[in-house]
Amino acid sequence: MRLWFARNNGALFALFLFIAMFSVYVGKNGVGLRVGLVTAVADKGVLLALVAMAQTLPILTSGLDLSVGMIFVLTNCIASAILSGPLWLVAAGIVAVLLSGVACGAINGALVVYGRLQPIIATLATGAVYHGLALIVRPIPGGSMEPTLAKALTNQTLGVIPTTLVILLAVVLVVWVPFQLTTTGRGCYAIGSSESAAYMTGIAVRRSRLAAYMLAGLLAAIGGLLLTAMTLSGDASATGGGIYTLSSIAAVVIGGTSLMGGVGGAIGSIFGAFVLRAVSDLLFVFDIEPLVQPFIQGLILLGAVSLGAIRVLRAPNRLEFLGVGR
């Protein structure tokens, strides 16, 4: 039990932070806990949560995926182009969108594993390529999506629970939880903790790492699909992709995953994403002058990622955080 808390305190912290912020938000807002309000908050949070989950996997293997926001944008553009028409075509389209995400992830993974490139550089470059592809698919913002599908994805389930939240839960249960339990999934943690030890204990280092990037592509594609359902269009925006990439890293860190790898998990990143989104909502209800909002948002972001510094004050010896000699 103590071990469980020790391993998950990052995620728990983010969860409590979100609950606190969300209660203040609901209390201050004045309209109470309405379905519409919850759906709006959920919709905004779920997109970032999916991209942050995607980012978590490469980070767990002590890598990084700077192209994750661009995969999100690319799949959004693809979805806006092919998801209309008869039912079977739409169904095939969804599969195609998700597969394109996996393919992007596989390219990243292959460059890192077989090309032996540093993840940060490889994904920086593939991010530019994916942006170019997104621009080819959708040179100007537009497109559409089958209205029934879009409605189904953005409505409420059973009248109260936002469907996007249900989808997020489904993704966690169907993708993340099983993955974490497989040898490949545990291999990702092992690589992050110590790659050479993982290799010597016979863990399939290459397969785990490749799987981490491919799964990241899949999760980003699910996000891209949902974004299309919400906006009913595709937009190959470089800034949009960049913001999602950077926010996803922040969300992962707030959610308690170490950038060194090996520690953390996708659940924490989800709460981290919701915390990030709640910040801007809070500033809105507190009537902070719009011009000052970005500044305070930045300060809160900086403060949230700096919370990890508490461990510096506890460390008995400075050597502990100077890193292992390479």
């Binding site: 400075r318 050597l319 890193g323």
Partner: protein, 317 residues
């Protein structure tokens, strides 16, 4: 001669080779690409990226990264032009020093977060970027400060001295400064040492915190300086003017053979990387290749170059 060969390592040679190949290919498309005038113009455009990349390189040599570059560039451009509005037109000469000071302050904050709070540079500088962005919005949103480039900035960015663009001279001076600091001073040795192992450097009795802070201050000051010059080049300062410079700066440093893990790399390589990226973008835009294809070629180029010489030697066989 042997000395020269020792300094010039393989990535640098390959990067310069790529530049020559690019120029020859460009020359086959249009003779203009080989004219002295065109090349000098390219160097002028490259100098802004070059100054930013100089700071980014010092931080990368430490094994860290500075993601606050975009808005430090912007705040540099905005303060350099806004000084006239604060204290009156007679103070315009202070534009560049004030911009440098602002950049150095942001760098100091970055250095503090990384060296003392021990927050990974990637997230701390990312947070600082958001904070600086907020400051710029807060300051420029309500009352629009003067954003027109002052004569000094224009002189720095678009005028020539004896046919050589002033911007190139500025970049060359920055370059000499960095080369001397990295190769001829203890500071430079310590930067490479920390990049290889901060732990060992610390145990050798070197104040690694000081070095980290100096590096981040350098990066901040250089970025803000480049922002001021960019304002001179574009004729005005504007929001988000630094956004297109972060990724090219990192790419330039890495294409020049500097290891993203720190500890290895030469300034000459960074120069090659900067020119390579500038020439590539210029040729692609002159050939009127659409933005989408340009992005793909740009990304593919980085991947190919890195596959040629940037592979790390990992143990996983």
């Amino acid at each position: 001669m042997t000395r020269v060969l020792r300094v010039v390592d393989r990535p640098v040679v390959i990067a310069f080779g790529f530049i020559v190949v690019l120029l020859i290919l460009g020359g086959m498309y249009n003779r203009q690409f080989l004219s002295g005038f065109y090349l000098l113009q390219q160097l002028r455009v490259a100098s802004f990226l070059g100054i930013i990349a100089s700071g980014a390189m010092v931080v990368i040599l430490l094994g860290h990264i500075d993601l606050s570059i975009p808005w430090v560039v912007t705040i540099g451009g905005i303060t350099a032009t806004a000084v006239a509005g604060w204290w009156g037109p007679s103070w315009t000469a202070l534009g560049v020093p004030v911009a440098l000071a602002c950049g150095a302050l942001v760098g100091l904050a970055n250095g503090f977060g990384v060296a003392f709070l021990r927050i990974p540079s990637m997230v701390f500088t990312l947070g600082m970027n958001a904070v600086v962005q907020g400051m710029v919005v807060m300051y420029t949103g309500g009352n629009a400060p003067p954003d027109k480039a002052t004569p000094i900035l224009q002189w720095l960015a678009v005028r020539d001295t004896l046919y050589v663009p002033n911007a190139v001279i500025v970049w060359a001076s920055v370059g000499v400064l960095v080369i001397v600091a990295l190769n001829r001073t203890p500071l430079g040795r310590y930067v490479y040492a920390i990049g290889n192992s901060e732990r060992v450097t610390y145990l050798s009795g070197i104040s690694t915190r000081t070095i980290l802070i100096i590096a981040f201050v350098t990066s901040g000051a250089f970025s803000a300086f480049a922002g001021a010059m960019l304002a001179g080049y574009a004729g005005k300062a504007y929001q988000a003017m630094g956004d297109p410079y972060l990724l090219p700066a990192i790419a330039a440093v890495v294409l020049g053979g500097t290891s993203i893990l720190g500890g290895r790399g030469t300034y000459l390589g960074t120069v090659a990387g900067v020119i390579l990226i500038t020439v590539l973008e210029s040729i692609l835009s002159v050939m009127q290749i659409s933005d989408s294809v340009r992005q793909i070629i740009y990304g593919a180029m980085i991947i190919v170059m890195m596959l040629v010489y940037g592979r790390d030697r990992r143990a996983d066989g």
